[in-house]
């Protein structure tokens, strides 16, 4: 201890966390290693025990034994201050939750087997907290932590997907077979309800229990300070939980017959488990956390635990099981143990990697925000972190707010409703596909989901469009919807391309198509999409009557219908009917409708006449139609994005510029830039040269009025007199500026001279 603090940190030049050399800590590390091996042994043994002992009884015995030993060692009643009544209630809560967690953990153990339980459940708090902070907060702590989190997730997925365990598969066959109690039955039904296959339910359960455990231990830290030490709390809590479990156990043992023949043979294993899993691990962990610091002990501990688990899984021959089985029912199912599969090995490697990455302290320290510079020029950071400044919004509130925002405006509301309809249809299709095990339906459902992404994009754009202008988006977010329309156009092009390629390959080799399921699905899709088309074409007409009227619109508009709405202020000359975003969404829906129609037609043709070629031809036709219908949208969006003069204003602008020329005192103009920024902003800048005896503000007013008539509603006019050029030529340091200015002046002068002479 003295050694640790005697080393001079400052003079060493190494600020920050100091790693104590390993040599001094070897004994602790060895101790940790031994403990973890014992713990792994205990877990393996308890797995065997759990085959005969009911889980509630098992947990009760563990808690009771633990409480007895701890009462003997800690003497929580005789030492320390008195525990108040309020604190007893807290301890009761603590005990209840901790027994629930242990029940869950041991239930997971019965499902998954000891090795997988070790891998999933025995992570230290440090690891899980940094994992969660990577996943759910923005300041995860650098790419290495992200990598660790990715490894963790990959490991879990490996366990879920690539672990072909015989026993688990067998259990999956009889999930409802042998439920001992109401509790396990409830858990089983819960897992079945989750929709996860049964043998994977254990994995999910353990992951959930792990998160619960971490949250619980974090919360109980305050209570342990209040009570007077974690050990005292542990002792009291295990006592209380044993008492809580007592009635349940008595009821259980009264009602159900026990599988255990002789409890005396189980005393030794129970003592061993209580000692290794509950007592020793707790004490050694607390010592090592103090000596080695939490991250290090977590890293070593988990690595030792996983390695010893792997070793045991390889060599453990389940002596106890055999012994027990020999006692109880000989010769029943000899070889149903969890095996060591490749998936488990890979996931163990990933778990070890991710634990060592996640538990390592981040090198960079906290992420500070730059405050400024000290007088010496050293950057100063604010290390308080974002966590304090962010007031995190609760999820329901967030959902409520965004829903309210969505429903506020017509466009986003339409998109949202249609998205909901589409999603509902998709999920019905998917569920039905899974139900009937029809691949065609499932793949069509995924296709619909793929299409929904375009709707989501449109919805986001419609939301963003209403955001207030910021420093960066100085004109407002109106342009987002044009960009989204552009992206949706590209999306449709990609879809058309893929359909095209697919249909060509089918044209060469027409596959046999099973038309049984196709017709109802495509009719359903057609109905949904027709609803969408109605909604959006109405949206269009609504938009047309609200924002702008008249003007060329692409072929699918229902323009005549729109004008009858007449909201009174339907005159912004020459605006386009629907904004680009809605057009993109509309075209998407239209393309889907076309697809459904094509499928229906080809189904009819195939089933009636057996023309297999009808399907690719239909798709070819549809692809071409989609492609052709997208081109106008893309062209318009491109023109806006490329800052072209808005074509519908072009003539007006030319007239307006001519008019500007004729304003009294205006000599000439240069650099006229006009562009459409978004659906309702047409911006423009122009430089005017005027005679020196004219009032600038009057000219600005007149020019603004003239250009406003031409549709420009965000105008900047720079009025220059000859004095300006003189100032500039005097001021300007740059060569090019002088060049430009002198030329400009020259043109002015000519005119001026001319007027003078005339």
């Amino acid at each position: 201890m003295d050694d640790k603090y005697s080393s001079n940190v400052i003079s060493g030049g190494k600020l920050g966390r100091v790693e104590v050399p390993n040599a001094r800590l070897t004994r602790y590390i060895v101790l940790l290693l031994l403990t973890k091996m014992l713990k792994a042994l205990g877990i393996f043994e308890s797995y065997d025990l759990l085959k005969v002992v009911h889980i509630v009884q098992f947990v009760f015995i563990l808690k009771l034994g633990c409480a007895v030993i701890l009462l003997f060692f800690q003497k929580p009643f005789s030492t320390g201050k008195m525990v108040a009544k309020r604190q007893w209630i807290k301890i009761l809560k603590h005990a209840v939750i901790s027994s629930i967690i242990s029940l869950l953990g041991f239930f997971g153990l019965t499902l998954c087997g000891p090795l997988r339980t070790l891998l999933l459940f025995e992570h230290s708090d440090v690891v899980v907290i940094s994992l969660l902070s990577v996943l759910f907060t923005s300041s995860g702590g650098g790419p290495s932590k992200t990598r660790g989190a990715a490894f963790f997730i990959i490991a879990v997925i490996c366990l879920l997907l690539f672990d072909n365990d015989d026993l688990m598969a067998k259990m999956a066959e009889h999930p409802e077979g042998h439920h001992d109690s109401a509790l396990t039955h409830a858990l089983y039904t819960g897992i079945a309800f989750l929709g996860v296959a049964d043998h994977k339910g254990g994995v999910v359960l353990l992951v959930l229990a792990l998160c619960l455990k971490v949250a619980f231990s974090t919360h109980s830290r305050k209570l342990s300070v209040e009570i007077g030490g974690a050990k005292r709390l542990y002792a009291l809590s295990s006592l209380v939980s044993a008492m809580v479990l007592l009635p349940w156990v008595t009821v259980l043992s009264a009602t159900t017959e026990s599988k255990v023949e002789s409890w005396s043979g189980l005393i030794m294993p129970f003592v061993m488990i209580i000692f290794s899993v509950m007592i020793l691990d707790f004490y050694v962990e607390s010592i090592c956390t103090a000596k080695l610091e939490a991250p290090r002990s977590a890293r070593y501990g988990s690595i030792f635990l996983f390695l010893s688990g792997l070793l045991l899984a390889n060599f453990w021959t389940h002596p106890l099981t055999d012994q027990l089985r020999a006692m109880s029912k000989p010769g029943q199912q000899a070889s149903t143990e969890h095996v060591l599969s490749g998936g488990v090995l890979v996931s163990a490697c990933f778990f070890i990697l991710s634990d060592s990455i996640l538990s390592s302290p981040s090198k960079k320290g906290q992420k500070g925000t730059l405050v400024g510079y000290s007088p010496e020029g050293i950057p100063l950071y604010n290390l308080m972190g974002d966590a304090l400044q962010h007031s995190s919004q609760s999820l329901p509130r967030f959902i409520k707010d965004s829903l309210k925002q969505i429903l506020e405006e017509y466009d986003s509301r339409q998109i949202f409703y249609f998205l909901c309809l589409n999603l509902a249809f998709t999920f019905v299709e998917l569920f039905y596909g899974v139900w009937t095990n029809s691949l065609g339906l499932i793949s069509d459902g995924f296709h619909m989901l793929f299409d929904c992404s375009a709707l989501v994009l449109g919805l986001f754009a419609a939301l963003m469009t209403r955001w207030k202008a910021t420093r960066i988006y100085s004109y407002g977010y109106g342009r987002v919807e044009i960009l989204s329309g552009f992206i949706n156009g590209l999306f449709l092009m990609v879809i058309a391309f893929f359909v095209f390629v697919e249909s060509i390959s089918r044209l060469i080799d027409p596959p046999n198509i099973n038309t049984v399921m196709l017709a109802p699905v495509s009719v359903g899709g057609l109905i949904v999409n027709l609803v969408g088309i109605c909604a959006f074409s109405h949206a269009h007409s609504h938009g047309a009557s609200k924002g702008s009227c008249s003007g060329h619109e692409h072929g699918h508009s229902h323009g005549g219908h729109g004008h009858s709405h007449g909201h009174g202020h339907s005159h912004s000359p020459g605006g386009r009917g629907m904004n680009a975003n809605m057009r993109g969404v509309f075209l998407h829906v239209l393309a889907d409708t076309l697809g459904s129609v094509g499928v229906i037609i080809s189904t009819v043709l195939i089933s009636q006449f057996g023309w297999l070629i009808a399907d690719p031809i239909c798709s070819l036709f549809i692809a071409t139609l989609i492609f052709l219908s997208v081109i106008p949208l893309l062209k318009d969006a491109c023109e806006v994005l490329l800052l072209r003069i808005p074509p519908e204003h072009e003539k007006d602008l030319n007239f307006a510029l001519e008019k500007v020329q004729k304003i009294e005192g205006v000599l000439s103009y240069r650099d006229p830039h006009f562009w459409r920024h978004s659906a309702n902003v047409v911006a423009g800048t122009v430089h005017l040269q005027i005679m020196s005896d004219v009032v600038e503000q009057r000219v600005i007013q007149q020019v603004t009025a003239v250009l406003k008539d031409a549709g420009v509603n965000n105008l900047t006019v720079q009025v220059e007199k000859e004095a300006y050029f003189q100032h500039m030529s005097g001021l300007s340091t740059g060569f090019h500026e002088v060049l430009a200015m002198t030329q400009q002046m020259e043109s002015m002068k000519y005119y001026k001279d001319g007027t003078c002479i005339m």
């Binding site: 290495s144 240069r670 650099d671 911006a683 503000q697 500026e737 060049l739 002046m745």
Partner: protein, 570 residues
């Protein structure tokens, strides 16, 4: 030199001057005109750089005219000035060009192909198409999703080659009337479109992969490795041998992708072990090379696992991985180019811009800067517009010149609108002064610099600048921070030393009051004082005007003062 000048924005100016203003000005233009050059030389003898300017100017205005003629062949109506369009009648220019879209395309293509450098790009493009076709066939035969995902990267290379061609086309084009900002945006749009397209392709791969997770078909490994290496080779060859300006710019300017960050993190820890690698590993990796290598690596693993263990699901998994990497690589670039397309202020110049705007708002007479819009036209060049509200008695042209001068260093295409509140209402002094003097004095600042008809003769002698006529104040050094130098020559002639305490006041008001005096007393001398103030007093104005600003209420409050001061002055 002259060509340098042409490539940037002044070229646009000169082009407008040369072509747009000439034909119209020809009517009222007198016959004395073209001799302006020699005249100017006389006037600008003491400014050697002005002479140089003139010479180049002449050459310069010649070339754009010539160039413009070339263009009129291709764009008969586009590049014409608006009034010619409307005068010529009802031909809609866009429809005209739209009709012969294909012909126009061929014409533009010939324009690009005339450049020797684009041949190489075209060659690579042809190679890329062949390679892509080959790969797509192999994808079909191997039935491998991962190889398809990797092939999309090859298709992306094709897009980037097209972008490269487009950027060389853009450099040949000059701003037209329809695309008044020039064609640089085409480049940005091409980058955006190609990154978005490849991301959509990746999305498609994701969707297909999810379907494949449900039912995994068998993957044949026969051509898998061959395809991988062919694609890798072609991609790297294209990336490293074609100089792709827009993509290089975007990949450097955009924020790092997660792939780059992870590689940087890994290589940093690797360099901790093997320091010799640091020169190779530590600099920022090219994201395209990185994703190509990573994709090839994933395909290699896929091949190995399928060969050894027949894990067909690995193919789908690595397709997902490649698709995710594609997203990661392309997303920052499409965000960057999308932000350019959205006309946003680039975040890296915000600091500089704020500094400049703060400077502008402390200029004398400036009350407020608002409606500031700054955005990038293409990759790099800023454009912007800003409204500046000024005091009612401030000189518009001077403020305009100063604001432009400040912002011009950063913003190349700038428009500044100056506005005053209640400009129709005459200023406060009008109650005291007779209306006749107002016309001359209310906008006294401007007329101070360009004295009206009375000083016409003097101006014709020296038409360009009013500065050189004043021998006492040489062309000022424009040292804003050393006011003493500039104060001296102006202070002494105009205001007498009997009011030293009121220096600032006298200064601030001087364009106004002195002209007031001159309007009354000596019109002829207006030029000297006005010019002196125009060039000399402009610069001390920060100090001078600021004090005057605070002092102004006193002065206007006791509204008899102006006339009194005018009496004090000679």
């Amino acid at each position: 030199m002259a060509m340098d000048g042409m490539s940037t924005s002044p070229a646009g100016l000169s082009f407008h001057n040369g072509s747009d203003f000439y034909p119209r000005k020809l009517g009222p233009k007198p016959d004395v005109v073209p001799s302006g050059v020699t005249e100017r030389k006389v006037g600008a003898v003491d400014k050697p750089d002005m002479v140089a300017v003139d010479v180049i100017n002449f050459q310069d205005s010649d070339t754009p005219l010539h160039r413009k003629k070339q263009e009129t062949d291709t764009y008969v109506l586009w590049s014409g000035p608006p009034w010619t369009l409307t005068e010529q009648g009802t031909i809609h220019p866009f429809r005209k060009t739209h009709k012969s879209f294909l012909g126009k395309f061929v014409q533009e293509f010939n324009l690009v192909a005339s450049d020797r450098r684009s041949w190489k790009i075209l060659l690579f493009g042809v190679m890329n198409v062949i390679c892509t076709a080959c790969l797509l066939m192999w994808c079909n035969s191997t039935n491998s999703m991962a190889l398809t995902a990797y092939t999309y990267l090859t298709i992306f290379d094709l897009f980037s080659l097209i972008t490269c061609l487009m950027s060389s086309w853009v450099t040949m084009k000059k701003p037209s009337q329809l695309f008044s900002f020039g064609f640089e945006r085409f480049e940005v749009l091409a980058v955006f479109a190609s990154t978005v397209l490849v991301q959509l392709g990746a999305l498609f791969i994701l969707k297909e992969s999810v379907e494949r997770f449900v039912e995994q078909p068998e993957v044949h490994t026969g051509r898998l490795l061959v395809g991988t290496f062919v694609a890798l080779f072609f991609n790297l060859l294209t990336l490293l041998s074609v100089k792709n300006k827009p993509f290089v710019y975007v990949s450097e300017a955009a924020s790092t992708s997660w792939l780059q960050e992870h590689v940087a993190d890994l290589s940093r820890s690797l360099c901790g072990i093997v320091p010799a690698l640091s020169s190779f590993l530590l600099p920022r990796m090219n994201p395209f090379v990185l994703i190509n290598l990573a994709g090839a690596f994933a395909l290699g693993i896929t091949y190995m696992l399928i060969e050894i263990n027949n894990y067909n699901a690995v193919d789908t998994a690595s397709a997902v991985a490649i698709a995710l990497m594609t997203f990661g690589t392309m997303y920052p670039m499409s965000v960057y180019s999308g932000k350019v397309l959205l006309q946003t202020t680039p975040s890296h110049v915000i600091g500089q811009l704020d500094k400049l705007l703060r400077e502008v708002s402390t200029l004398d007479g400036v009350l407020e800067v608002r409606n500031e819009h700054f955005w990038t036209v293409g990759f790099g060049s800023l454009a912007g517009s800003v409204h500046v509200r000024i005091r009612r008695d401030a000189n518009e042209q001077m403020v305009l010149a100063h604001v432009t001068n400040r912002l011009h260093t950063l913003v190349s295409t700038l428009t500044v609108q100056i506005f005053k509140d209640d400009w129709t209402r005459p200023s406060l002094v009008s109650g005291v002064l007779p209306a006749a003097t107002l016309s001359a004095s209310d906008y006294g600042g401007a007329s101070g610099f360009l004295p009206p008809a009375s000083s016409k003769q003097a101006e014709e002698l020296d038409p360009l600048t009013s500065t050189p006529t004043k021998p006492s104040s040489p062309p000022p050094e424009f040292a804003f921070n050393t006011p003493g130098k500039n104060i001296q020559p102006v202070v002494l002639p105009s205001t007498h030393q009997h009011r030293p305490y009121n220096l600032g006041l006298a200064y601030g008001a001087s364009p106004y009051t002195s002209m007031l005096n001159q309007g009354f007393t000596q019109p002829g001398g207006g030029l000297g004082v006005g010019a002196g103030l125009g060039m000399g007093a402009r610069l001390p104005s920060v100090q001078g005007y600021r004090t005057s600003f605070s002092a102004a209420p006193h002065r206007y409050g006791s509204n008899l003062l102006p006339s009194q001061t005018s009496q004090y002055r000679p």
